[in-house]
């Protein structure tokens, strides 16, 4: 059984999260500030940490910094701070995921599972030296079998969606405009106003993302195009 440590200064939130996680079959430990977290981590083997940012005493950011000195377990940050800067800070100090309050509890559970799968099962896939397997974080595309998996779960895509995603994954980090994608996939010039590509992209997102409004892989660069976020897929 995997052990998850939940830390928030609001006891009810910790309680609610632990009910969900217990329901999913996880062993849950509870902490109410950063010092608790450090102490519990010294005594128990923890598989994943869910931690709030704004807490009295040692806050989430400092706690994560401290943990990262010794441990590489997955960490999901929860925060009422939804600014880009806050997210960037959280991810930079070592969090693997960042969720803003108020969140959908089911989304949190999905993200917990995703992080655990990646950490425990898919650690080595990114290193596979197979030319026909493209990986980006938890997103893996096998061009031979035309299979797509996200955190180990198979995803069904239409051929056009598959081609668009493959184009983006092959060129991870590069931004493609609607016209670029259109020319590459349909092999003809885009004529006039048409939101076909945009609709396809949205459908892909709905299939591969936990929360399509806050995508992890397929990102919208507003007014410029779309891209797959380049991710460090090789995890220890």
């Amino acid at each position: 059984m995997q052990t998850i440590l939940v830390c928030d200064d609001d006891k009810q939130i910790v309680e609610a999260i632990s009910i969900y996680l217990t329901g999913e079959g996880f062993n849950v430990l509870k902490a109410y500030d950063g010092y608790d977290v450090l102490e519990i981590m010294n005594q128990h083997r923890i598989d994943l940490l869910i931690i709030d940012v704004m807490m009295p005493g040692l806050d989430g950011v400092h706690t994560v910094l401290k943990i990262r000195e010794t441990s590489s377990i997955p960490i999901i940050m929860l925060s009422a701070k939804g600014e880009d800067n806050d997210k960037i800070l959280g991810l930079n100090v070592g969090a693997d995921d960042y969720l803003t309050k108020p969140y959908n509890p089911l989304e949190l559970i999905a993200r917990v599972k995703s992080q655990l799968r990646r950490y425990t099962q898919l650690g080595n896939i990114g290193e596979a030296d197979n030319g026909n397997i493209y990986a980006c974080g938890g997103l893996v595309m096998n061009d031979d079998t035309k299979e797509v998996t996200v955190d180990g779960n198979a995803v069904k895509l239409t051929p056009i969606e598959y081609n668009i995603l493959l184009l983006l994954v092959k060129n991870a980090g590069k931004v493609f405009s609607i016209d670029d994608i259109y020319t590459s996939i349909w092999n003809e010039e885009a004529i006039g106003a048409d939101n076909t590509v945009a609709v396809h992209i949205r459908h892909i997102r709905e299939k591969i993302e936990i929360n399509p409004r806050e995508p992890r892989y397929l990102k919208v660069v507003w007014g410029v195009g779309y891209k797959i976020e380049k991710q460090d897929s090789a995890k220890k």
């Binding site: 309050k101 939101n195 919208v220 007014g223 410029v224």
Partner: protein, 726 residues
């Protein structure tokens, strides 16, 4: 309160220190106070020994002078004391004559048997020198005196009289000193030669053995080299003197020297007097030292306590350092005030002592009093100064409150702000250069004044200094005022941002719990359909509350300008197309036909993509909510080259009549339906308007009957348009 008492105690102890030093200097004069304490018995003290030693040699004067001046135990006035040669004639002078002569020249003996001259005379010194020149051939008081050349011994009669009377004075002195009834010092010197015996003693009633049995004694004789004595030291020249004064010139003569002191001091003499003084001084030394060490202890401990406690409140829970008004003065002012005061004290103290002397008469130890007073005056200000510095140090503002820092700040400010405004040259020219020039000039003028003492140079230097300093100060004042205002503005903006962050945190945290627990409730198996209905309501409303909070925070951020805008060149066509793609589901559900028109070339605008998406999202959301079902929505992108703008206009037919002005629509919490039953926060248009404004654009809303038109006008990216046109 405690501190005031301690301060008073400290000052009292300082005064006590001064007093005890006074007691020690006056009371224990000549000889260290420690010596007095170490030796409680006068008879064993060094001062007793030295006095006794002095008397032991004085004995020989007594022997010799009584021999010269006395006959049958009485002063012989008729004694021929000198013989002289006056123009070939031999003249003898008796003691009586010389006394008469000296008296006529104004000489007399004072009460301590010292020769004095009071100036009342019948024969003046000049007269004596001119008319009474003699050549002395014989002096009774100097038996070994011999004329070696004819001119030797030439002197005036007055000088001779003075010389002779000096010896007479000495005779009187030793006579008094060793007078049997007025001394505790007894001696017996006996010379023998071939059966003849000569005895000198001041008390014939006491035998040699009597004298030697006294508590303090010295006995020496020619038979043994050893001197038996109770003293630690005896005069070095005692034996040579004994031999030199031997009246028998033969080798077989013998001497016996016995002196003794009756240490019970039955008679009033110098020894008894000294013993009394010794005892009283010893007492005052003990008290003085005791007082000194005690008061030093009190002074130091109270000072240390005050130094630790200064600036702290009496209340131990209050850890803050409290400053007095004086502490806010610059450090240098405090220090220099002390030095000026010290200078004044140095000047005033002697004058004050002088004026006191006028009232109470001449004071001994004038130096002591004046230095004590000046020390006290300095101390009165020194302690508050040091404590003020200490408090400033504790409050960590010793440097912050100093003038030097202010001056550094002024210069630093100019140089720093020069770097900030990138007009360094300008600032150097305006500030640093003129200042350096002015100071160089002032320095030059001062040197000139110093070398040539030209008053004009001094006045000019002072004038320049005054002008440049006042200009600098004024400029600095303006500059700091400005930066202060800017700081204030920044601070209030930050406060606003903090407030929004905190309020949103406080709203979102309970909301998280509500959403989670409503969801948990939904998962419970509840048979009662009414309860399930309630839970559904809770679910809907909590979701709505979530939207509302997020919108509210966003609206307040956008309207207060606490939003970071990253301008980039983006394609208007692309973003609208992307947005329509995102909304495909919703528009489809609302049965709206979206008709998009844009130019066939990219329309590049300067905007923040994420914020622009939020604006378009809100507008499209409104369309989905309020547009007439099964109607068409036109989305047009147009360029206006005259104003260099591009706009996206969304046109739709409202499903309900709009009885509201376009201006009102963009107000916060205003919604198209006054009943407010539909979902939505009423903040969408307000947020869209604020965000557009922050991107230097404009949101224009027009209502023409049921035709609702919203257009987002934004500035075009200047470079891109030029490039594409060329």
């Amino acid at each position: 309160m405690k501190k005031i008492i301690l301060t008073i105690i400290n000052f009292i102890s300082i005064i006590l220190i001064i007093c005890s030093i006074g007691v020690l200097t006056f009371g224990a004069a000549d000889g260290s106070a420690l010596e007095y304490i170490r030796q409680p018995d006068y008879v064993k003290s060094t001062s007793y020994e030295s006095q006794a030693n002095e008397m032991m040699t004085d004995v020989f004067d007594y022997v010799q002078l009584t021999d010269i001046f006395e006959e049958n135990g009485k002063l012989n006035l008729g004694l021929i004391i000198a013989q002289a040669d006056i123009q070939g004639q031999n003249v003898s002078y008796s003691l009586d004559y010389l006394i008469q002569y000296a008296r006529s020249m104004g000489y007399y003996f004072d009460s301590w048997n010292r020769l004095r001259n009071d100036g009342s005379r019948t024969i003046s010194k000049e007269d004596d020198e001119l008319n009474h020149q003699i050549i002395v051939q014989y002096k009774a008081y100097l038996p070994n005196y011999k004329q070696t050349s004819p001119t030797d011994g030439q002197m005036s009669l007055g000088s001779l009289a003075e010389e002779a009377l000096t010896y007479l004075a000495r005779y009187y002195a030793v006579k008094n000193e060793f007078d049997k009834s007025a001394t505790n010092f007894f001696f017996n010197i006996r010379y023998t030669s071939k059966g003849k015996e000569l005895v000198f003693t001041n008390d014939p009633d006491r035998s040699e053995a009597d004298i030697r049995s006294l508590p303090s004694f010295v006995y020496a004789d020619s038979n043994s080299l050893q001197v038996s004595t109770s003293f630690r030291n005896i005069p070095q020249n005692l034996i040579p003197l004994l031999q030199a004064r031997n009246p028998f010139q033969s080798d077989s003569s013998q001497y016996h020297y016995s002196v003794g002191i009756d240490t019970s001091f039955p008679n009033d003499d110098i020894l008894k007097e000294n013993a009394e003084i010794y005892n009283s001084r010893r007492l005052s030394s003990i008290y003085g030292l005791l007082m000194l060490s005690l008061s030093i202890l009190v002074a130091v401990s109270s000072l240390v306590y005050l130094a630790i406690k200064t600036g702290q409140s009496d209340d131990p829970s209050d850890k803050k350092i409290h400053l007095y008004k004086i502490d806010h003065c610059p450090t240098e002012i405090i220090v220099s005030a002390f030095f000026i005061w010290g200078f004044i004290a140095e000047m005033v103290a002697p004058q004050f002592i002088e004026s006191v002397e006028n009232v109470i008469g001449i004071l001994d130890n004038w130096d002591f009093w004046s230095s004590a007073l000046s020390f006290l005056l300095k101390y009165i200000l020194f302690v508050p100064m040091v404590f003020s510095l200490l408090r400033n140090y504790k409050a960590d503002r010793l440097w912050k409150s100093s003038l030097l820092k202010k001056i550094c700040d002024i210069f630093g400010h100019y140089i720093f702000s020069a770097e900030k405004t990138s007009s360094r040259l300008f600032s150097y020219l305006l500030f640093v250069l003129p200042n350096l020039l002015a100071f160089a000039m002032v320095a030059f003028l001062f040197i000139r004044f110093y070398k040539m003492s030209s008053l004009n140079a001094l006045l000019l230097a002072l004038a320049i200094l005054l002008i440049i300093l006042s200009i600098d100060f004024y400029a600095w004042h303006i500059a700091t005022g400005l930066s202060h205002a800017v700081d204030e503005q920044v601070k209030s903006e930050r406060l606003k941002a903090d407030l929004i962050t905190n309020v949103s945190h406080d709203l979102k945290t309970p909301l998280t719990s509500i959403i989670s627990y409503v969801d948990l409730l939904k998962r419970e198996e509840i048979d009662n359909p009414r309860v399930q209905e309630y839970i559904n309501v809770l679910d809907q409303k909590s979701t709505r509350l979530k939207t509302l909070t997020e919108d509210l925070v966003e609206a307040s951020k956008a309207s207060s300008g606490n939003v970071k805008i990253d301008f980039a060149d983006i394609n208007y066509n692309e973003i609208v197309e992307q947005a329509l793609g995102e909304f495909e589901d919703k528009t489809h559900a609302a049965k709206l036909e979206m008709i998009l028109n844009y130019p066939d070339h990219p329309v590049m605008i300067s905007a923040d993509g994420r914020h622009l998406w939020r604006v378009i999202e809100n507008l499209l959301n409104n369309c989905c909510k309020y547009a007439l079902r099964e109607s068409r929505v036109y989305v047009d992108i147009t360029e206006d080259d005259d104003s260099g703008t591009a706009s996206c206009t969304i046109k739709n037919i409202s499903s309900r009549p709009l009885n509201i002005s376009p201006e009102e629509l963009t107000e916060r919490f205003v919604r198209g339906d006054v009943s407010r039953t539909t979902e939505g926060s009423g903040l969408g248009l307000s947020i869209a308007k604020s965000l557009t404004k922050l991107m230097n654009g404009e949101l224009v809303i027009t209502i023409d009957g049921d035709l609702y038109k919203a257009s987002v006008v934004l500035k075009k990216a200047v470079k891109e348009t030029n490039d594409t046109k060329d």
